[in-house]
């Protein structure tokens, strides 16, 4: 699942009241995704009771977004079973550690992108991910092979 500005926008009040300091709810949505603004900055959402259900949903959707890595990868540990599909499919792992992660085992290198610790996946070294930096490639292999949607990308 990807979190997009549109998904966030749909749940905002959509009144363009500007209380958040943005011109429109849509631009606020973009900034939330890019972690430049916080949901709390939209005061009507918190103050007006009628938005409560939307707020709940937004909170759920954005859970973990602040801890999201620079590539926008978020892991919901509660959903992760530690199956390691994501670790093994990663093309970077396959080329850097062909007889470890590339062959289905635990890493034999010290700086994998992802690794299973205490039964759930942890982000160890995001700099190696193809989504990182200026020349990034929008790789989705890990997310696509997670059966429980424990991996999400924030797409701003």
């Amino acid at each position: 699942m990807a979190i997009t500005p549109m998904e966030v926008y749909k749940l905002l009040p959509k009144t363009n009241c500007k209380k958040c300091g943005e011109a429109t709810c849509m631009s606020f949505a973009f900034k939330v995704i890019n972690r430049e603004r916080k949901l709390e900055d939209c005061t009507p959402l918190f103050e007006e009771k009628k938005y409560a259900p939307q707020l709940e949903e937004l909170k759920k959707m954005l859970k973990g977004i602040e801890e999201a890595t620079e590539t926008g990868l978020i892991v919901d540990e509660e959903l992760c079973s530690g199956c390691a599909n994501c670790v093994v499919v990663c093309p970077v792992h396959a080329s850097d550690d062909p007889y470890g992660m590339g062959s289905g085992y635990g890493p034999t290198i010290d700086d994998p992108i992802l690794r299973i610790e205490d039964g759930v996946v942890k982000v160890i070294n995001m700099k190696k991910c193809r989504r990182y930096g200026k020349n990034r490639i929008l790789c989705v292999a890990c997310r696509e092979n997670c059966p429980s949607d424990a991996i999400r990308f924030v797409e701003g």
Partner: protein, 398 residues
């Protein structure tokens, strides 16, 4: 590196330091919770010293007229061997979880009724990979990443999307079924036999059920000389104990390509118990040493329902927790000796509790993976007791 005995994958690359590395959630929790909820030696619910409990167990077993030995799927072969000896000596019944799990499939393999292979060969060679009536993501978490669809090895270096073809057959869109995307098929069935008939028809050159999916899969199978079907409980129940059509299908598939079968097993050493029993008796489970044969009547659950036993020796399993209510109710009325590392539900109502050790954590031994490969398990540390030492002493005492 240590071995995890959390399921029949028996992963050997687990590292335990301040954290547990590489194990799935279930495996990691075994190591992380090893010291919690430990069993204590007990007689009639009261804590006693170990030898008192052991002597009481020996007494109950010696006095039993109709004993059943049950469980055993989480303990090493060496302990299973002793339990079988004990059952033989007492002319007792013996059974494990495989009688309602995948024992039938293991039996077909041991009787050589179906071609089989190992997970290492699957990893190196398999192209079309079926998961039929099983959701390994939930029951054998690392099966796909370690052995089947995802690893690159041998002839399969180009990754899952190019070098493997996944087929998931299930009654619902399981977690595993969600992985069937590019170069893959998910077939939702109401009745497994309809799909089997579909394959048989197509292989005979006729159009039948599920024709589009089936003919695509057959043409994929022809592209490789190594394909594999993993069968789970869903398939077993779908076939209702009549495997003839399924065997016919696999045989027909083998006329066009090599197709192997493996059970997608669950308990760590279930296959080990089946193999030992088969060597000794020609049957894989639910056996009576008094009658010298196996029968559905000798399934642990049925022995209890039919009031056939006065005492049960329960090793490494928690039947009160897993068996249906009416069985559990009756089970609470007979004498029970529980050998288990944990203070399980069954242990709480047992007449005697003998604390043992956790395979891979504080006891070692030989375990048999779901493909029949024997794995020597080195424990993380050596404990004071083990299933092997306890069973040895019981056997000497009776």
């Amino acid at each position: 590196m240590v071995t995890c005995a959390g399921c029949s994958c028996l992963c050997t690359d687990i590292v335990v330091k301040d954290k547990v590395f590489n194990a799935c959630r279930r495996g990691a929790s075994i190591f992380r919770n090893a010291e919690n909820n430990k069993a204590k030696p007990k007689v009639d619910g009261k804590e006693v010293d170990f030898d008192t409990a052991l002597n009481k167990a020996i007494e109950l077993i010696s006095n039993s007229k109709n004993l059943a030995v049950y469980g055993l799927d989480t303990v090493p072969l060496e302990a299973q061997e002793l339990a079988i000896k004990l059952a033989e000596k007492k002319e007792a019944f013996i059974d494990d979880n495989s009688s309602f799990c995948l024992g039938d499939f293991v039996e077909m393999i041991l009787k050589k009724e179906i071609p089989t292979t190992t997970l290492d060969e699957v990893k190196k060679n398999a192209y079309v990979i079926f998961y039929w009536g099983t959701d390994p993501y939930n029951s054998l978490s690392r099966h796909l990443s370690l052995y089947t669809y995802y690893p690159r090895a041998g002839k399969r270096q180009r990754g899952y999307e190019e070098d493997r073809f996944l087929v998931v057959v299930d009654v619902r869109k399981s977690h595993t079924a969600k992985l069937a995307k590019k170069n893959a098929r998910f077939i939702q069935v109401n009745n497994d036999l309809e799909l089997i008939d579909g394959f048989i028809s197509a292989l005979d050159g006729k159009a039948g059920n599920y024709f589009k999916d089936v003919s695509r899969i057959i043409s994929e199978m022809k592209r490789a000389d190594f394909n594999v079907i993993f069968g789970g409980l869903g398939l077993k129940y779908g076939l209702n104990s009549d495997y003839s059509r399924f065997l016919e299908m696999v045989n027909k598939m083998n006329e066009i390509s090599n197709v192997y079968f493996l059970p997608a097993g669950f308990h760590a050493n279930m296959r080990g118990f089946n193999e030992l029993m088969f060597e000794k008796t020609g049957f894989v489970n639910r056996y009576s040493f008094r009658e010298g044969k196996a029968s559905k009547d000798f399934e642990f659950k049925n022995l209890i329902l039919n009031d056939e036993i006065d005492t049960a020796l329960i090793i490494g399993t928690d039947p009160l927790n897993s068996l249906p209510f009416e069985v559990a109710r009756k089970l609470s009325k007979i004498k029970k000796i529980v050998i288990d590392p944990k203070n399980t539900f069954t242990a709480r109502t047992a007449d005697v509790v003998l604390p043992s050790a956790i395979t891979g954590y504080d006891q070692g031994g030989t375990m048999v993976r779901s493909d029949g490969v024997r794995i020597e398990v080195e424990p993380l540390k050596e404990g004071d007791v083990s299933d092997i030492s306890i069973l040895k002493r019981i056997l000497e005492g009776i």
